[in-house]
Subunit: 265 residues, 2 copies
Amino acid sequence: MDYDRRSALALIGGGLAAGLVGPSLIACASESETKRAPRAPDSGERVVHEPLPYVRLDPVHVGDLAYRNTFRGGCMYAVFGTIVDALAEQVGEPFTSYPTTVTRYGGGGVAGWGTLCGTLNGAAMAIYLVSRDPGPAINEVFAFYEQEALPNYVPAEARFQVPGSVAGSTLCHVSISRWCDASGFDASSPELGDRCAQLAASVAKYTVDVLNAQLDGSFTAARQPTAAALPCLGCHARGSAVESTFGKMDCGTCHTDKLENHPKG
Amino acid sequence: MDYDRRSALALIGGGLAAGLVGPSLIACASESETKRAPRAPDSGERVVHEPLPYVRLDPVHVGDLAYRNTFRGGCMYAVFGTIVDALAEQVGEPFTSYPTTVTRYGGGGVAGWGTLCGTLNGAAMAIYLVSRDPGPAINEVFAFYEQEALPNYVPAEARFQVPGSVAGSTLCHVSISRWCDASGFDASSPELGDRCAQLAASVAKYTVDVLNAQLDGSFTAARQPTAAALPCLGCHARGSAVESTFGKMDCGTCHTDKLENHPKG
């Protein structure tokens, strides 16, 4: 694999694919996750991953706070802001003053567009902030969201009993549509609002489970993206014959016409 | 509309849907986008939007920096980090020390999952950080990404001449797949890596155009989500007859089987 190809792979993967970036690129890093030494933006130095120190959190406590914080600032804030808040309770700075409210932008799959579920956007950001090995932890939480019937945790203050549903996707639009279908509630019902808050609680709780396991050294990747078990990526993923696409989302969620009547290769 | 319903709508929309949140909820806010007064996480106070002060930026300068920063920290960092860097060049604090490197998590549609394009995740976060009216600005940039042949700006240091393609989506997976199809390049080609850096440049540049227009008072919503012109939302969006879904993504990108052979209502 030549330099350009490795560089492109690392670039598009956001540098999370460990081992794809040569040591010479790592060595010249200068920025950490929090304080930035003033520098010229065009310095050309590669950003390195220097997470903040994580301490063990109580998943149930975080889940309950995330439920409440959903009503304060939306679903992305509920997960990211709550984990930062909980760390601030334990250790103070740098978490006490770490900015969190900007993550309100992610509500409703970013400003109501229904793209990436805000709970996952917040979980990924929180994991990246504090994990030394964020890629596998993000994978685990995303696959959990895709495959489990959620919400699977009922916070102490929950206002409604709501059913769980399997999203089969990491996208807000699909997740809400399938929950409306499974539950019979409509898309502006108060039950859906409470379901999203309970979902934030469930995702925040599971994210803390994963981060605690990484801290303990007991983390293993228990889940794989659904797409990993499908034949699609054997031909279409990077490094394969057709090599025409990119990603880990479940192919069958959208490509319903390709699973049974796939064009002959 | 009762309180619960309004609350649910505002919640799922991340509070961006102006006017949906009653004044009593706004009045008790306490947090700004940056410095947080230490507080109990369970205070119950609603987070309010207090953007940092934006100053006019040079879109071409930002575009060129975003291209370079893609190679430093991935696509989300390239847009968010570059706009913060450019503001730091102009005004110093609070932008100089504002944390940006955490946004590396968004690379490749978050850790390579191919969900929301990192350039848009970064643009939405940057807009929310500095815009007094972030919803319409985010809409504008997302619709631009969905509908324009991108990249549409060639940075001064671009390494490859690459064609543009219309994503028809805000998702990394779809955007890359369609570009590979349009260009003939494969998904681990150095040309794709450069296309993503030029895309970051194009999105950062357009985001600054929108923010500058908001600053000048000349901003008008020139684009609508493609979905707004489809008949789908007339039955399925919130407030309609079926009311079974949520979002602004182009319905036809995934629901290819529904456009011509829709089940009878």
